[in-house]
Assembly symmetry: C2
Homo-oligomer: 222 residues x 2
């Protein structure tokens, strides 16, 4: 697990390639010091090119991480770890991202009402100073995604209108925030809660634990 | 749902009979204004007298709410709604409450490691100004409990020691906080996440919605 590696990790430069306040809050809640450097990647991959929503989310996360990796290289300020993530909601094979406006949020919430949907968060970890032997001088990249099933209660129109008017749906995949008032709509989940917030905390800790044990954070910068 | 009733509820005096910062945070996150008046109930009910951990938790919550109800009556300052809750962890028919000390926390975490356990939060809602017709002049009491299954990863001794040393386990049923570093130990859950934090948010909103619709918050104080 991650907690016993905090003394080692506290000396590392960890960059979060995301502007999401929820993701930085979750990483800081784990005891990590993180620097925020939001990716400028356009997030415009063609969804139909991917086998599923998880693969799509992880591909977007990887592009975000690589964009920030290049920027830190150009600036000559290599990080020890770059963390990027992308979260999408899937219902009936349709992928929902952030709503465009209030009406779009209401459409999303109406489609989620009374149903189960899936939330996928893809994560990419880039270790600039640790080359993957199989990939010559490229940085080591670890990527993964996690799925959580979320069951929504039946929402009355009054609730959907009041929630859309609150502004909370904006900037959130599927048009709701499970950590906010949107959490009151959720009867239950199956899987990782933090994955629904936008970052699969347990899985991230398992991956970092494995990277530390493989010596990835002890390598000298190249 | 609760959100469309916020304008009505904002004019009501809602008292939370709990010192738990997580419970007040969850209620305030729903948009409710709450006043904190922790119960002094000793929480010493005989566990063996109850059919299960849920029944035990809801009985404790009810006693907490009644104790605060009596205190507000004596002070002549009736609340519109008193909310109390109690959370316990059950593993292999054994109920775990708050750890007594660091060693107790480590014992609890060792027993949870690599296993699934259940978290029960019992809630009691007391409406002092709204008598239950079936109960003469007693206040209306609504109580319920919710169960969530939590699956812990296998924890290495180093993780258990580091976590116990962090102080986070103290004051938390089962010796962990799912909203903190303890969340990194959780592979997944089945049910309401907030129930594990100590308060079943969705179920509470459903009950308050039903109380509002039944006119319970429009009644004149007696």
């Amino acid at each position: 697990m991650l907690i016993q590696h905090l003394p080692l990790l506290s000396s590392k430069r960890i960059v979060l390639a995301s502007a999401s306040p929820r993701r930085s809050e979750l990483l800081r809640g784990l005891g990590l010091k993180v620097e925020i450097l939001p990716s400028t990647f356009a997030e415009n991959l063609e969804k139909s090119a991917f086998a599923g929503a998880g693969e799509y989310a992880v591909a977007t996360a990887t592009q975000k991480a690589i964009e920030v990796f290049r920027r830190t290289c150009e600036a000559g300020k290599l990080a020890d770890l770059i963390v990027a993530a992308d979260t999408v909601v899937e219902i009936d094979t349709q992928i929902l991202e952030k709503p465009l406006d209030k009406e779009d949020a209401m459409r999303m919430l109406t489609s989620l009402s009374g149903c189960k949907h899936k939330v996928y968060s893809g994560v990419a970890l880039v270790l600039p100073s640790f080359s993957d032997p199989a990939l010559d001088q490229s940085p080591l990249i670890r990527s993964f995604w996690e799925e959580t099933v979320v069951e929504f209660a039946e929402l009355e129109d009054e609730a959907i209108h009041a929630y859309a008017a609150s502004g909370e749906p904006m900037g959130k995949a599927g048009g709701y925030g499970i950590q906010g008032i949107g959490g009151s709509f959720v009867k239950g989940i199956e899987g990782c809660f933090f994955n629904v917030m936008g970052f699969p905390v347990h899985r991230f800790c398992v991956e970092v634990d494995s990277l530390v044990k493989s010596g990835a954070f002890s390598a000298r910068p190249q």
